[in-house]
Symmetry: C2
Subunit: 421 residues, 2 copies
């Protein structure tokens, strides 16, 4: 037997990147360190204790008392599929708000589960009006669930959710929410808003590497799972089996948990707790306003509907004079900055600039605006430097803004600390 | 709005553990370091290059030319479900060899996919005889696939696969193999054995943290996916969509890849290449023989059928005088050593001791045997120390054994190097 080796490759050392795309966001050094710690077994008492701590901290960021609050072993899209494949039985109707890629994805997943999606469409960038949902509920016959995307990562729109829970309860429908780009970046109130099941991802406002999907289900949702007439179509994502592993006192082996990712999530959640949710939301809001002012000064205006724009993701329309591909390539090559392009029909039309978690800091906003100004001068779509930075500075200088002071926790290395508040 | 924090928890520092259970195995410091590197975006050109390198190295360990060779974003069980949900359409028959937990899991997953599993049962610990497979193929009418577990982690049995590919081809059935506990630890020849689709996990003989499932499909398997009459029931695991992301030249966004886990896998695969597959297999074999001799001296005899025992996992029967729970608890508490108990009907009857990847080293075998001897004296089920260590020493001292010399690569920190060959 001769087992030839493939061509050898050297040690991998990722080039520095300022991650300002739609995720992954920058990861705090403490989280990177946590991920590099030696492994424990997935049934080790010390690891089970860590799972308990993660569950407690996730309940806090989801703003819920739900006992069933866990981190699923897959990315945010696995969380989407897990909720739908567990809560929807073949033939059941789900109303899905579709105003971008991720609403459309939810509808596709409902179909794969054998469910019947009825979409409530809105133009990309606009919200799905609560009245449209009310109307659809009235017209649709029995509805198993209403599914909405809180933060539509393809358009930058923030879906209002406060009034939907009551509509769902009245209709006897479960309320399912995609909080992938909102959790820990903007207010989300799982219990107060009557959300029955909610999922997120780790690589957005939690600033943890991708690979886990935090999710939470209340008793209504768990009852729906218990009362299923058919087995869940997925074994890997079957939450009744997954629950037997996460439930304290049970801890029955289902699959080997991604140990290192859970180390990372615990540390990311600790950083969130140290900062406090309110301060964290305020930081996201301030940085997004500063970025927005700067982009506006460059002629890039927000794509999403006014009053419903995400602080965690700026989606801006490109004026014709700006060449999407040329600028993004130069940003990456010359400045090591990643921002996102448009998805689907918005390809070439918009940029998606994420300010999530560790990426939502003044130093990063200023660096991006400065780089864009420089590229604009070079590429001939800008006449004078300074306007974008000046506009951002105006936001930072507003009286009473917390951004003027460094955050008291979630510290960067000391030399970056002052600039990166 | 007041967002109270949950009770704070401190920095997590995992206690040291010698991982000798059925996985996760010990992870090399270079792999831990790789995982802690800063993130790249999942569409960054440098990251796409890393994906290419992983694919090339995975082809090498799978011993295949299959273009479609990737690391799926989920653990080994997700890999199992991905192959079955893509290759099996509702109503189709799959012959599944069942001689332990993981064969039974495959049958359950076939059922969740809407397929019709026909199980070929063998007593736990014994192999599924090729003749039984031949017979089942002859009797079962049209069969979409035959699914076998190469290394049954619940019993320590190694399923012979060499003759099965030809039987499947004759019958027009696909040949699907679970190589979770075999890949990179014992010979596996995807192309030469006519395996059409094969999956594994990272936390076993690859010695990478859990969270990814390497898998490979040949053209027969891909054609079966292309010719499906129904959509794959899973969106997250739909390999035709996943392929659009992994395929060079396409790289279409499907879900955000688990970046850090892929850094880790690349480094783990580099360590495999540096050592060489043949040396790695020889190391696993030698260490398992030394362990087996030592355990036998303690009265623990192998559970699996002679001639078909895994080098990567020793499953041994407990004599009545040994208290399973008491010994495993003491191993963990006093010696920081994790070994595995029995699953299902074997609970309390067997131990499962993994020697996988970095765990398969002389220092670890000797440490475990020494700890067991000490506990045996303390707990009164052993009269004299030394027999187990002596038996292991006899194996190491056999003329011509590679174990007498430190491995030339995959180095541990220098002070451990000599002991840990």
């Amino acid at each position: 037997m001769t087992l030839a080796t493939s061509s050898a490759c050297g040690e991998f050392s990722p080039p520095p990147r300022l991650l300002l795309g739609p995720g992954p966001s920058l990861v705090h050094p403490r989280v990177l360190q946590a991920m590099g710690r030696p492994l424990l077994g997935h049934l080790d008492p010390e690891f089970l204790q860590l799972m308990n701590e993660i569950q407690a901290m996730l309940r806090h960021v989801f703003r819920t008392e739900n006992r069933f609050t866990i981190a699923l072993s897959g990315t945010g899209s696995a969380g989407m599929e897990a909720l739908l494949v567990n809560l929807v039985e073949p033939g059941e109707t789900v109303l899905v708000g579709v105003n971008g890629v991720f609403g459309a994805r939810m509808a596709a997943v409902v179909e794969r589960c054998g469910g019947r999606p009825i979409t409530i469409e809105a133009p990309w960038g606009r919200i799905v009006e609560p009245d449209a949902i009310r109307l659809a509920l009235a017209r649709s016959g029995p509805v198993k669930a209403v599914a909405l995307v809180h933060a539509e990562t393809s358009t930058g729109a923030r879906q209002p959710l406060e009034a939907i829970g009551a509509l769902c309860r009245e209709a006897g429908a479960l309320f399912i929410v995609d909080a992938v780009t909102s959790l820990a970046g903007l207010p989300l109130e799982v219990d107060a808003w009557g959300i029955d099941a909610c999922y997120s991802g780790t690589q957005k406002c939690l600033s943890c590497p991708p690979g886990l999907s935090p999710l939470t289900l209340n008793d209504h949702a768990l009852t729906a799972i218990r009362r299923r007439k058919t087995a869940c179509r997925s074994w890997y994502l079957d939450l009744s089996l997954v629950a037997d592993y996460w439930e304290e006192g049970k801890r029955a082996y289902h699959h080997t948990a991604p140990i290192s990712m859970l180390y990372a999530l615990r540390e990311a959640l600790r950083l969130v707790e140290e900062e406090g949710l309110e301060s964290r939301f305020a930081r996201h809001r301030l940085q997004s306003e500063a970025l927005g002012a700067g982009l506006e000064a460059l002629g890039l205006s927000p794509f999403a509907q006014e009053g419903y724009r995400l602080p965690s993701l700026a989606c801006v329309t490109l004026p014709a004079r700006i060449d999407d591909a040329a600028v993004r390539a130069s940003l990456l090559r010359r400045f090591q900055i990643e921002i996102g392009g448009g998805l689907g029909p918005l390809r070439g039309q918009v940029w998606r600039i994420g300010l999530m978690g560790e990426s939502a800091r003044r130093c990063h906003v200023l660096t991006l605006l400065s780089a864009l100004e420089e590229l604009g001068l070079d590429q001939g779509w800008l006449a004078q430097p300074g306007a974008a930075l000046t506009a951002a500075a105006g936001v930072y200088a507003r009286p009473g803004e917390p951004g003027a002071m460094p955050q008291k926790s979630a510290r960067m290395s000391s030399e970056r600390e002052k600039a990166c508040s």
